[in-house]
Amino acid sequence: MTSNPNLESPAEDTVKSLDKAPVLVRLSQIHKHYKGTTAVEHVDLDIRQGEFFTFLGPSGSGKTTTLRMIAGFEKPDRGHITINGADITRLPPFERDVNTVFQDYALFPHMTVADNVAYGLQAKRVAKRDIPDRVAEALRMVRLDSFADRLPSQLSGGQRQRVALARAIVNHPQVLLLDEPLGALDLKLRQQMQVELQRIQREVGITFIYVTHDQEEALVMSDRIAVFANGRIEQMGTPVELYERPATEFVANFLGTSNVLQRHGKKWLVRPERIRINPTKPVLDMQSYHVESGVLREVEFIGMFTRYIVTLSDGSTLLIHEQNLDGFTVREQVRREESVWVSWSLASAYELPA
């Protein structure tokens, strides 16, 4: 990838410092309506050079529409999209220095893997003698060098996914758009591909914009995440920021699960894994811990952890995750419909902004 102008830092530089990186993609006041329904409104985004940026949200939240507007498949009703300062809002897809990995991969079924990967180079009139090398290089990157002569129908889902990736990155675009690329794969393969995608992104240094509805995937891979809901961006930030300091109840519950409690006229958020459960009242420093009792309703063994559901005296329901560490577990000491004690450190409770 020596010819790639985007490759600024060596692959080993795993800790990215993106705060100082220049803005590559800018969306300003993007609006999009379809016959009476609002798909996207008031979307403002700055995506930096080299960033792994994720649009996270449920279906119909506007994340895919926003991605498709960056690709050029949809035209915004209002607003502007720039790449490196140049306005691309009115450019057709084939004039944009952007490539897409489609949800259904969209591999051309009548072409071999190599022909699929070469398609973009041929369309851009790359010198014929350079094409085979670049195709081979891209296939090597996704570890499919030996599959060049196969047809897409002769590949597994995971292999097709990687061909789609190679077909996009071979063009060295400024931005790579990925539309739920792992959605059709099973869990094990998905986790493998998450690692692969991060590796490839570090190697080529291309800015990734990644669309997913899977919060775990977003947390694992992203430098920053924009959480979409109802056509708007609810919150934007690093995975840790979004998890620890969600701006809204929606974000709190979309990224992981949360207990939202009404106390003293305010909404408090406590993550289930931060709560302890005890058969008897624990002895704790009341200055820094909150302790109260409740009735245990459900105990569910999940494998890595045990899930408890407790009803508190004010009627609210509390979800608790207890790690199944070796030996001692509360599970064997508590019984359903009996009273238990719950506690959490005050530092773990987070007040939701009003």
Partner: protein
């Protein structure tokens, strides 16, 4: 109890239908045979048998005096075909016009089918479907006669040309007339399969081509055309074979010098009473179609089906 009797699975009852259903479930081949018995019987008895009879009778001859069929093997019919000064000419005319009609219909049908499948909104698409299929609701003869009214010497076309101050077009009763009328009549048979093929191409393929830098022409040439090929081939089999076998349009709009293979077959069966010779000539379109399919297959036209 009454409830027990209402439950069908409660007690096994011996109805013949039930045992039949179970037998079919146990042996899927039985079910398949039941499905195919009717159509296969039809195909073998009526279609293949007729075709075989035709093929065999092509090697018989007719006694010139008695007019009776002589059941002894001979290649005379085929020799007569090849050595004649008329029949090769007729065969070439038939095949040539069938080719021209097929090409014309591909050129006309492809943009229309593309528009219907990918651009038109549902209402417009339904309207276009109706317009494409409407001619099939009326009689074939009526439509060919309508074209006779248009193309003849004092027809609508020439009236129109004269109104514009242009010279008359001498299209009526020529090969040009047959080309126009055949292209018109078989057009729906080309539009439908191409429409089906284009409609089946996922939209993301076209987006992917654009995304990779492919402008309209490249997308058409490299993605749409190869994937629509099975539809084009299917349509061309219709237009080609329907034109090859026709004998009505040549009579009505082609005039005296425009005989098709079908007309020779017709006159040999009906007038000359020489069924073996008619059969021999009728094998020509059959062989041409076989060659056509073979070439299409060689070109990979069926691979994406």
């Amino acid at each position: 109890m009454a409830l027990d009797k209402a439950l069908p699975l409660g007690e096994p009852q011996q109805s013949p239908l039930r045992s039949l259903a179970i037998a079919v479930w146990r042996r899927p081949a039985l079910g398949a045979s039941a499905l195919l018995a009717g159509p296969m019987g039809w195909l073998v008895l009526i279609y293949l048998a007729a075709l075989a009879t035709l093929f065999i009778s092509a090697f018989w001859s007719v006694n010139d005096f008695t007019g009776e069929i002589v059941h002894s093997w001979t290649l005379d019919n085929f020799r007569q075909l090849v050595e004649s000064s008329v029949y090769p000419h007729i065969a070439l005319r038939t095949i040539g016009i069938a080719f021209a009609v097929t090409l014309t219909d591909i050129v006309l049908a492809f943009p229309l089918a593309y528009f219907m499948a990918r651009i038109a909104r549902p209402k417009l698409r339904a309207a276009l479907f109706a317009m494409v299929l409407l001619p099939l609701w009326s009689s074939y003869l009526a439509r060919v006669y309508a074209w006779r009214l248009i193309l003849s010497h004092d027809g609508v076309l020439n009236w129109f040309l004269l109104e514009l101050g242009l010279p008359r077009a001498h299209i009526g009763y020529t090969n040009w007339a047959m080309w126009i009328v055949f292209s018109y009549i078989w057009l729906p048979f080309m539009v439908m399969p191409i429409y089906a093929a284009i409609e089946r191409i996922p939209g993301s393929f076209l987006e992917a081509s654009q995304d990779l830098g492919g402008r309209g022409l490249r997308t058409l040439r490299k993605v749409i055309l190869p994937l629509a090929m099975p539809g084009v081939i299917a349509g061309s089999i219709f237009t080609f074979s329907l034109t090859l076998g026709d004998y009505i349009t040549p009579v009505l709009v082609g005039g005296p010098g425009s005989n098709f293979i079908g007309n020779v077959v017709f006159s040999n069966v009906g007038i000359a009473n020489n069924i073996p010779f008619a059969a021999a000539f009728a094998t020509v379109p059959l062989v041409v179609m076989a060659i056509y399919l073979f070439i299409a297959r060689r070109l990979g036209a069926f691979e994406m089906m």
